[in-house]
């Protein structure tokens, strides 16, 4: 995505932050390494020897070398974190989607690299622990003089393969728990305090996780352990020492010191990696203060209104909206800048840019929700409405200014792409109608059309996987299509829905491809037969069965920005009651109220759908943040609070604001606290 110069500047800041996070995790490495050495040599009966041993080990040249290797590993992990983060969680709507997301090529690469890094880390831990785990080859344990040469040290192999397993499991968990999703903290704290608060949680979590991973690994090794052993002994031409019991037997595996070392090195691996991840998260989600206006116009692209309205990476957009929410709440002098008029000219460019962007975001959400409800109400039949919303999200917020906004307040900086048609943006209309006309031919006629078959979502899934969703904004239609996947699977022979739905994005760019010919008709017919056949098989149903509630989660997946927009708008509006000297906000008050109230209506309707109201069980003590699962509740309460904030500040004065009759009624309910 092409980014504005201001966005690029912020991106530079972000890369510096990522670098600082990696640097800190490298600096923390010696500490965790030394504690690992200390714990690995535990001997309660000889404390003095224990202490001196570990101290000696710390000055070892091996230790220095493995520290170097570990630093390299941490840097790599940090780089992967920077490449794979997202601000919008991916919520699989069925089990097949989950599988698909795990075996996506890019994620597969992530997993493989992490497995390799796991082997490296495990090698470092074997070096640090020393003793019988140190080397791949060891002399025979039998003291008989006649036996010469070196044998394969299976403990070493066990730990190395264990490292690979731990690395792979880490990578799997990373994606399944959406740990690449950056959730922004509810309260602002200093970085050090945030780190301190989560440190203990990280230690506990990695110890527990390591325990579970080790259990799984032991099971795996018990059954399949001979494979890596045979392979390594063949490739390195080392013989198995017959005097030592093999580790894939019960007696060999139940070796407490070995299990302890394996668990400890697993904990060490997870701890260093999770710490890197934690530091990255803390650094990158820190508040970035955008200037509202600069005294000289040289860096105008860096200003908050400009960043909000231009195409920037989603993370920068998040940071800008977060900063907006904070400034509207805490910072009177920055609010003053927002309400100020331009010199010369006297236009409230800042306020117009900010408010129109926020309103556009909220309107999008309203459209998405109404479209979703239509799908739900019409048994999965979808109209082309979401597409417009998607275009909006991709484009800038240019067109959607308020309903009755004074022409004099239109911002100069955007006049280039401002169309002067008063309402219902041209983009909206044109795309809408064109898509309609495109779709009307192949899809609407009969419900038994070949396109409408239960297998269809699989193709949708394939599309899903192909879409680049790393580091950049996932194209919104992917997210929006998610929920509608397989709506019919539960209805036994699955019929009508979803087909148009997933085909919309495909058919848009190249409409010719979807014109059905006789051959394709036949093919599709056969295909449908196969699908109907498959859809009655249990494993297929299991895989494709739509997870309840997931669709509702997916609709609100990126609602954090909407929450910030709501907070920012409502705080600014409430503050304008006393602080807005030029009456800048008054001009948009009507459109703010109407947007908020229609969103409120849409959200209320959404919560009447099945599964929307059920709360997922809260996992306490887990490192993975599952806040995205409950974002819809946060949005609902933020919306209500925002409307109340405005109504309680303005009170009866709102009677003078022009809103529609329906909204007036709703407003009255808010004024009397009946909602």
């Amino acid at each position: 995505m092409e980014s504005a110069p201001g966005g690029r500047l912020v991106s530079k800041v972000l890369s510096w932050r990522a670098a600082a996070a990696i640097a800190w995790s490298v600096l923390l490495l010696p500490l965790s390494t030394f504690s690992f050495i200390f714990l690995s040599r535990i001997s309660l009966l000889h404390p003095v020897q224990w202490a001196t041993d570990s101290l000696q080990e710390m000055y070892n040249s091996y230790t220095a070398f493995s520290l170097l290797v570990l630093a390299g590993i941490v840097v790599t992990i940090g780089t992967f974190n920077t490449e794979f983060y997202t601000v919008e969680p991916s919520i699989p709507c069925s089990r097949i989607a989950l599988l698909g997301s795990v075996f996506h090529p890019q994620r597969l690469l992530h997993s493989v690299v992490h497995a390799a890094l796991g082997v490296l880390t495990a090698w470092c831990t074997t070096v640090l622990v020393g003793g019988r785990y140190h080397l791949m080859s060891a002399p025979s344990s039998q003291d008989s003089v006649g036996v010469e040469g070196l044998y394969l040290n299976e403990f070493h192999v066990f730990l190395l393969v264990g490292g690979a397993f731990f690395g792979y499991s880490y990578s799997l968990r990373y994606f399944i728990n959406n740990m690449n999703y950056l959730s922004f903290p509810a309260i602002q704290q200093f970085k050090y305090l945030r780190f301190k608060a989560s440190l203990w949680l990280v230690v506990k979590y990695s110890a527990v996780q390591s325990f579970y991973f080790l259990r799984n690994y032991c099971l795996l090794y018990y059954f399949l352990g001979y494979v890596p052993r045979a392979w390594i002994s063949a490739s390195m031409s080392l013989q198995k020492d017959s005097s030592v019991p093999a580790l894939d037997t019960l007696s060999g595996l139940l070796d407490p010191p070995l299990l302890y070392v394996a668990w400890l090195s697993g904990t060490f691996l997870l701890l260093t990696w999770y710490l890197t991840w934690l530091l990255f998260k803390i650094f990158i989600t820190e508040v970035y203060q955008f200037p509202v206006q600069l005294p000289f116009g040289e860096d105008a692209d860096r200003c908050l209104p400009r960043v909000l309205t231009s195409k920037v990476s989603p993370l920068v957009k998040c940071l800008a909206l977060q900063d907006l929410a904070l400034l509207s709440q805490y910072s009177p002098c920055r609010r003053q800048e927002v309400f100020s008029l331009s010199q010369p000219g006297g236009h409230p460019h800042h306020w117009t840019a900010i408010s129109s962007e926020c309103l556009a975001l909220l309107r999008d959400l309203t459209h998405t929700l109404t479209a979703y409800q239509e799908v739900a109400a019409g048994n999965g039949r979808v109209k082309a409405v979401p597409l417009t919303a998607e275009k909006r999200a991709l484009g800038s917020s240019a067109e959607a200014l308020g309903y009755n906004e004074a022409a004099s307040y239109q911002p100069a900086l955007r006049t280039s792409h401002l169309s002067h048609t008063p309402r219902s943006s041209p983009l909206f209309k044109s795309s809408n109608s064109s898509v309609r006309s495109l779709l009307s031919f192949p899809f609407t006629p009969d419900l038994s059309s070949p396109f409408v078959s239960p297998m269809a979502p699989q193709q949708g899934e394939a599309l899903d996987m192909a879409s680049p969703c790393y580091g950049s904004l996932q194209s919104p239609h992917v997210m929006r299509r998610g929920p509608k996947l397989w709506t019919s699977a539960s209805r036994a022979s699955g019929c009508i829905p979803t087909a148009e739905d997933y085909l919309v994005p495909v058919s848009c760019p190249t409409p010719e491809t979807v014109r059905p010919s006789g051959l394709s008709h036949w093919l599709l017919h056969r295909q449908e037969q196969v699908k109907v056949f498959l859809s009655r098989r249990v494993p297929v149903v299991y895989l494709f069965h739509k997870l309840p509630e997931a669709s509702s989660q997916a609709v609100f997946a990126n609602s954090q920005i909407h929450i910030w927009a709501l907070e920012g708008l409502s705080h600014l509006t409430a503050a304008s009651f006393t602080e807005d000297r030029y009456g800048v906000v008054q001009t948009t008050l009507a459109s703010i109220l109407s947007v908020l109230l229609s969103l409120q209506e849409a959200v209320d309707k959404h919560f009447k759908l099945p599964h929307a109201c059920s709360r997922p069980a809260r996992a306490s003590g887990s490192l993975a943040d599952s806040s995205y699962r409950t974002l819809r509740f946060a949005l609902r309460s933020a919306l209500k609070t925002s409307i109340y904030r405005i109504t309680s500040t303005f009170g009866e004065h709102l009677g003078a604001v022009q809103v529609s009759g329906e909204h007036r009624k709703r407003l009255q309910q808010f004024l009397t606290y009946k909602v």
Binding site: F577, R581, G583, T630, A638
Partner: protein, 542 residues
């Protein structure tokens, strides 16, 4: 400094304080019928009297179900035979395989765990503090009280663990009951919301959704969702952010206080070394600072932007209670074992991050040491420790419960009311004592958050009566702040802003012209401000 000597003497027995008018507290006879009708008629609030006898007795006193079973002794073989008859193999295996030593081992572990817990309790004596404080209230049928911040609605928690929500507009009184709702210690309505009530219980926080339009008297427990965090119980203090959204909860047992994002059920623990748990929370009305007291002689004032704190090691005893002035610049607090009120002032830190801005020393602003009054040849001793303290939302009245000495007959627990003035100089002047029925002791105090004609104090008495005492006065701050928001610093600015809003359909130039006029005529404006502040303000037209 204000002391109790300056107060008018308390009323004699049998008189009840009714209201304040023209700077005087007016009383009535207790047995007078009109006295009881006064509240319902003049104020329009439901009068509440909940006698302890009317509540259902505690049905959960017996915690274990042991009594319901008869002890029965049988040898192992007989039990195995019985199990065999039932053709179930697993019980037999279980009976045979569980050896004696395992039983003994688990008993030992249990004993060790209990011993460790007892040891923990002896190391940190503060754990017992709250429990004793609660025990003093068991004689009363009322446990906690909370006014809704925006409407004439209040919630009362009762001794039988139910909560009733009274509304001046409707007759229905919803009663909230929940399986986990035990030993309710705190209630708090969410600001900028009509229906959300947070309840601090023995084991968790319950967040009720009390639909204001519903006619049901028993909302189902599905209307409540549970917030719990390991180690964070019992919850004894709750505070909502006045700007909405965040909820703070504290437990005297847990060293960290939790900030909940209630909608997503995510909590962020805030922990600092020292002090033990957190016993009392008070969020300043402007939302910028939070007072958090601990069971030891330390309290903290947090600022809410980056959540850093200032630590106040008070010298004698723990901080008992505290309250904020409406603009959040003054904090009054009392210390256990001392009969004085301290004042802390806070500076506006502006945009500085991580600064609380508290002054270096706390000043003593009122002396509440024991004073003797003679009424009708009887001596009444008033004064001593402060049990609780509330400040009204306009910043004009301060009500304090003075705990009497239970061993002394002459000493009485009374509510003392002060007149206060925050700007330009902090002042504390005596107003009078508030007295209830005979043998009624005040349990809690609360000011109505938006009473238009002055201030309205709600007192819960040990007899189970909740009485409302209005204080009629004209507020010195002319424009009343809208609830939940900080009042404007100077009234001039708020005036102009009111004007700003008037021509809402008009164009901006008109507004700026008005402002220009105002700027040119400072003298008249001051005059007009003064003038309007002395009369009832309805609208400003120039």
């Amino acid at each position: 400094m204000c002391s109790l000597d300056l107060f008018p003497p308390p009323l004699c027995e049998g008189h009840i304080t009714l209201y304040e008018l023209n700077n005087e507290l007016v009383s009535g006879l207790q047995n007078d019928e009109e006295v009881y009708n006064f509240q319902a008629q003049t104020l329009g609030f439901p009068s509440v009297l909940i006698r302890k006898e009317s509540l259902k007795p505690h049905c959960r006193l017996e915690h274990s179900a042991k009594a319901a079973f008869i002890h029965h002794r049988e040898p192992v073989w007989k039990r195995s035979a019985n199990a065999c008859r039932c053709v179930e193999l697993t019980p037999i295996l279980f009976l045979i395989l569980v050896p004696k030593w395992l039983k003994a081992l688990s008993c030992c572990t249990l004993a060790v765990a209990r011993w460790a817990r007892a040891f923990h309790g002896s190391l940190s004596p503060h754990l017992k503090v709250r429990i004793s404080a609660d025990a003093s209230r068991t004689g009363c049928s009322l446990r906690a009280f909370a006014w809704h911040p925006h409407t004439d609605k209040f919630a009362v928690a009762l001794l039988d663990d139910s909560i009733r929500v009274y509304n001046s507009q409707s007759e229905t009184v919803p009663t909230l009951k929940h399986r986990l709702q035990k030993n309710v210690a705190a209630l708090a309505w969410k600001p900028l919301c009509a229906s959300v009530l947070a309840v601090g219980c023995q084991s968790c926080i319950l967040v009720w959704q009390v639909d204001p339009t519903s006619l049901s008297t028993r909302p189902s427990s599905g209307c409540a969702h549970v917030l719990s965090h390991p180690g964070h119980c019992p919850v004894t203090s709750l505070a909502w952010c006045p700007k909405g959204g965040l909820l703070l909860s504290a437990s005297p047992v847990d060293t960290s206080m939790l900030i909940w994002d209630v909608a997503t059920e995510i909590c962020v623990p805030l922990q600092r070394v020292g002090g033990g748990g957190v016993t009392y929370l008070a969020w300043s009305p402007d939302g910028n600072r939070v007072l958090a007291t601990t069971p030891s002689s330390v309290f903290r004032v947090w600022e809410t932007r980056t959540w850093t704190c200032e630590r106040w090691p008070t010298l004698n005893g723990q901080c008992q209670t505290g309250c904020w002035s409406p603009d959040g610049t003054h904090l009054l607090f009392t210390v256990e074992g001392e009969s004085v009120i301290y004042l802390l002032t806070f500076l506006d830190t502006g945009e500085l991050l991580g600064k609380v801005g508290g002054s270096k020393t706390a000043l003593i602003c009122a002396d509440l040491s024991k004073t003797t009054f003679e009424i009708e040849q009887a001596e009444i001793r008033v004064g001593g420790e402060v049990q609780s303290m509330v400040w009204d939302p306009s910043g004009e009245r301060l009500a304090v419960i003075l705990r009497g000495d239970p061993t002394n007959v002459e000493s009485k627990t009374l509510v003392a009311v002060f007149k206060t003035n925050v700007s330009p100089v902090f002042e504390l002047l005596p107003c009078g004592f508030i007295q209830g029925e005979i043998d009624a002791e005040p349990q809690f105090l609360s000011f109505h958050p938006n009473f238009k004609k002055g201030a309205l104090l709600t007192v819960g008495w040990s007899t189970g009566r909740i009485s409302n005492i209005p204080f009629y006065f004209v507020s010195a701050q002319m424009s009343r702040p809208s609830p939940g928001r900080s009042p404007p610093r100077d009234s001039l600015l708020s005036n102009t802003s009111v004007i700003c809003f008037q021509p809402i359909q008009g164009s901006a130039p008109v507004v700026s012209r008005v402002i220009n006029i105002l700027h040119k005529l400072p003298l008249q404006i001051h005059f007009s401000v003064f003038f309007f502040s002395k009369t009832s303000f309805s609208g400003l037209s120039i």
